[in-house]
């Protein structure tokens, strides 16, 4: 578990470089909230705090959730999401290993539904923002909810947001992409960080190849197909791969062993489902990014997938 956290460092570094010190603060808030929630739930369930508290699973959930939050979101957003993830998505299902839904994604989905305004105020990349928020300013903003300058001066839409809302205003895809190019290059850098960490996880054999490979393949195929049919409306494969939480989802979320299918073959199906649903949600629903909902929907299918993909036992006919 702690190695998973270590593998998030490159992406976190890229994030801090582009958006300032918001992310580390969010990680700390989410982690404290997760550990508190974990302790309370363990006490309520009359279970010993150790070794559950020290296994690092709550910290991973908190970190992954923090990655999905806007860096300047108020502190109670991270705290609520993290606590919900631990209490409802994890412990009410029976604790580590028994949860049906990915806790981080369940927490994120709750936040998206309950605090849409806070969740959409994504930071403007430092290079283009007119004001540069230092550590103290960032801290004050997160804890008071009031930035030292107007929100407009420091926040901007994410590339996915830009495409999503831009197309509705009648602009062509190319114009929208041009407008959001700086934000997109920031997103590319953190994607590369995620990729680095993800390959590290694969190399250390902490995660297995089926889920990320099939998920990315499904994104490539479905996004590529849409783009080929109507390049004016649907962005290309590379845009899908490098924006939003695509790579984070592939290497850190879809690989969560607890909430994915049991067998290799099952994991291929699970990953493919997540990839396809992500593109579907991004293209045709009210939400700019679809990873969280795609993962949660596929989590629901895991028992069915497991039933249909039991491997052939030695010596048995197919």
């Amino acid at each position: 578990m702690l190695l998973v956290l270590a593998m998030l460092v490159p992406a976190a570094a890229a994030d801090v470089f582009w958006f300032g010190p918001g992310l580390p603060i969010q990680i700390v808030i989410a982690s404290l909230s997760a550990l508190l929630a974990e302790s309370v739930m363990l006490a309520l369930r009359r279970e010993p705090l150790q070794p559950s508290l020290g296994d690092g699973s709550a910290l991973v959930t908190a970190a992954l959730l923090a990655f999905a939050l806007p860096p300047l979101a108020p502190w109670w957003v991270a705290a609520c999401g993290s606590a919900f993830a631990i209490v409802f998505a994890k412990h009410l299902f029976g604790g580590l290993g028994r949860n049906l839904f990915n806790p981080a994604m369940a927490g994120f989905a709750l936040l998206l539904l309950t605090f849409p305004a806070e969740m959409s105020r994504w930071s403007m990349p430092i290079v283009v923002a007119s004001h540069h928020l230092g550590f103290t300013d960032t801290l004050t903003t997160i804890f008071t909810g009031v930035p030292p300058v107007a929100w407009d001066a420091i926040s901007s839409a994410t590339p996915l947001d830009a495409v999503h809302s831009g197309l509705k205003t009648g602009a062509t895809l190319q114009e929208v992409l041009a407008r959001t190019s700086t934000a997109h290059s920031a997103s590319i850098w953190s994607s590369l960080g995620i990729l680095l960490g993800g390959l590290g996880l694969l190399g250390l054999r902490i995660i297995r190849w089926p889920s990320p490979v099939s998920m990315l393949a499904a994104v490539v195929v479905s996004a590529g197909l849409l783009n080929a049919i109507d390049p004016g409306t649907y962005p290309g494969v590379l845009f899908h791969l490098t924006s939003g939480a695509t790579l984070l989802g592939a290497f850190f979320i879809a690989c969560d062993p607890v909430t994915t299918a049991a067998s290799h073959r099952g994991r291929l199906w699970f990953g493919a489902g997540v990839g396809l649903l992500t593109v579907v949600i991004r293209s045709w629903t009210a939400y700019p990014d679809g990873i969280a909902f795609a993962v949660l929907i596929m989590n629901l299918f895991v028992p069915l997938i497991d039933r249909l993909t039991v491997p052939r036992i030695y010596g048995h006919a197919r």
Binding site: D55, L96, R208, P257, V258, S263, D306, I313, G315
Partner: protein, 486 residues
């Protein structure tokens, strides 16, 4: 000891540093102890019946116990001397004390005059040779101790095409097969030829692990010297459990033995190299199975080595032959590091199934942390040679869900321990599965008995009803005609 999941076509684990203190010297004969205890226990928990009395003088190779229901093969005195006791004693791998024949060795090794070699086996029929093998007390020496004559017995519906001589050590660290091939390859091949004659197979494959170059070289030389075109050597990659019969057949021929079936169903019979050598000794000298190779290893013994040991030798004597214990011995294990059983003391005796004794220190053992919840990582499924999903089996075993256990194939679990060894949550998977499997067997038998009782009861009630109806009908017929029923 370090455990990693084996990569490649075969499922299993690689074990690095598993009690691998190799002994390069030829296996020497351990001295015969002053007193031996021949355990009458059979692997299935039943036991042989003694045919000697206390105080009787027995000769080397004389039958001392046999199996009236043919469940096991006869047991022979491994020394000459006087039977001093027939009593219950602890036996390796048995939870209850089992009967054993105790012989006071007179040190003269006086042979039973009834032991006669077979001059030319090619002139004898398969039935005759099988009877000799049965009378010679020969069983599979790989560890399962299944009677060899039953395994070789002809079955017309499933002809044997290939005889596999299994030289793949069942667990890393055990060296008796390796040593046998290095120093007694000729004898092993002779035994293989006898078995080829019996089963009428056209070819014989001797399977050896890739990490045993000396054994491979010695066997190849012996094959060349034998000049028998039916014999060939196959190299098997080093992983555990490559030596499992079913796993070996899958690797060698790409076919799987059907579930519930036997290797014969795919035209194969497997025999351990030690069994082949024992058959050679029996045919050439008439001597039955009275000794076997035993590897004594682990950091807890001064000079680890493989020895030719008389059956019934106490383990304490065996350890003394290897220079005694080192001060940091923590555990005595019979069998390998994966499937071996921890022993309560060293007064237990070597049996036909004893291929290895590990005097383990803390450095030999894998420390086990507290069991954590299963996170469904799937490492166990990747390592399982039976292609099961141990994570699902574990869930159903904990819930005592027999239907779920059966659906995920608990009966196909070979209890090799691969899942257990790779589990990051340190779950005691293999012991849970063993217990669940035995419980399932008990439950099945109980259900069968209950069903049978219900059937009997139903049949009984039905029979009574039929009889009753019949009686009434007759009664009605006997009534005088014309008289009306009220």
């Amino acid at each position: 000891m370090e455990v990693t999941i084996a990569t490649g076509r075969q499922r299993g684990v690689r074990l690095i540093g598993a009690a691998q203190r190799s002994a390069a010297s030829a296996p020497s004969a351990a001295s015969a102890p002053p007193q031996l205890a021949l355990s009458l226990a059979l692997p299935d928990g039943s036991s042989l019946v003694p045919v000697v009395r206390i105080g009787e003088y027995v000769r080397l190779g004389q039958v001392v116990a046999w199996s009236p229901d043919c469940e096991g093969t006869p047991l022979h005195a491994s020394v000459s001397g006087q039977v001093s006791a027939i009593e219950l004693r602890d036996a390796i791998g048995m939870s209850a004390r089992m009967p054993a024949i105790v012989i006071d060795n007179d040190g003269r090794d006086e042979r039973d005059p009834g032991l006669i070699p077979v001059a030319d086996y090619t002139l004898r029929s398969a039935e005759e040779l099988l009877a000799r093998i049965e009378a010679g007390g020969i069983v599979g020496l790989g560890g399962a101790a299944f009677p060899t004559h039953l395994k070789l017995a002809p079955t017309p519906s499933t002809p044997v095409e290939t005889l596999v001589i299994n030289g793949v050590e069942c667990e890393p660290g055990i060296q008796c097969d390796d040593m046998l091939m290095r120093y007694r390859a000729e004898s092993m091949l002779f035994g293989a030829q006898v078995m080829l004659h019996i089963v009428g197979a056209g070819r014989c494959v001797i399977a050896i692990e890739a990490d045993k170059p000396e054994a491979i070289a010695a066997t190849r030389t012996a094959v060349k010297a034998a000049g028998d075109a039916r014999l060939s050597v196959a190299i098997v990659p080093t992983y555990y459990p490559a030596g499992g019969e079913r796993q070996l057949i899958e690797f060698l021929f790409g076919t799987q033995v059907p579930a519930g079936g036997l290797p014969r169903d795919v035209g194969v019979v497997c025999q351990n190299v030690g069994t082949a050598a024992a058959i050679a000794t029996l045919i050439r000298t008439g001597e039955p199975l009275v000794s076997r190779l035993v590897t004594v290893t682990g950091l807890g013994v001064a000079f680890p080595r493989t020895l030719e040991v008389r059956l019934g030798t106490p383990l304490s004597h065996l350890i003394e032959e290897c220079g005694g214990y080192t001060p940091d011995i923590t555990r005595l294990i019979a069998g390998g590091m994966m499937m071996g059983v921890a022993l309560p003391h060293d007064a237990l005796a070597v049996a036909k199934t004893t291929h290895c004794v590990i005097a383990a220190t803390a450095a030999d053992l894998v420390p086990r942390g507290p069991a954590m919840p299963c996170i469904r990582c799937g490492d166990c499924a990747e390592a399982c040679p039976s292609h099961l999903l141990p994570q699902e089996l574990y869930r159903h075993a904990v819930e005592e869900d027999d239907a779920g256990l059966a659906r995920f194939g608990i009966t196909d679990c070979i209890e090799c321990g691969c899942c257990d060894a790779v589990c990051p949550s340190q779950l005691p998977l293999v012991s849970v599965f063993g217990a669940a499997r035995r419980q399932l067997q008990v439950n099945t038998v109980t259900t069968e008995r209950r069903d049978l009782a219900r059937q009997r009861f139903n049949a009984h009630t039905q029979r009574l009803a039929v009889e009753q109806a019949e009686r009434q009908r007759r009664l009605k017929e006997r009534r005088p005609a014309g008289r009306k029923d009220e």
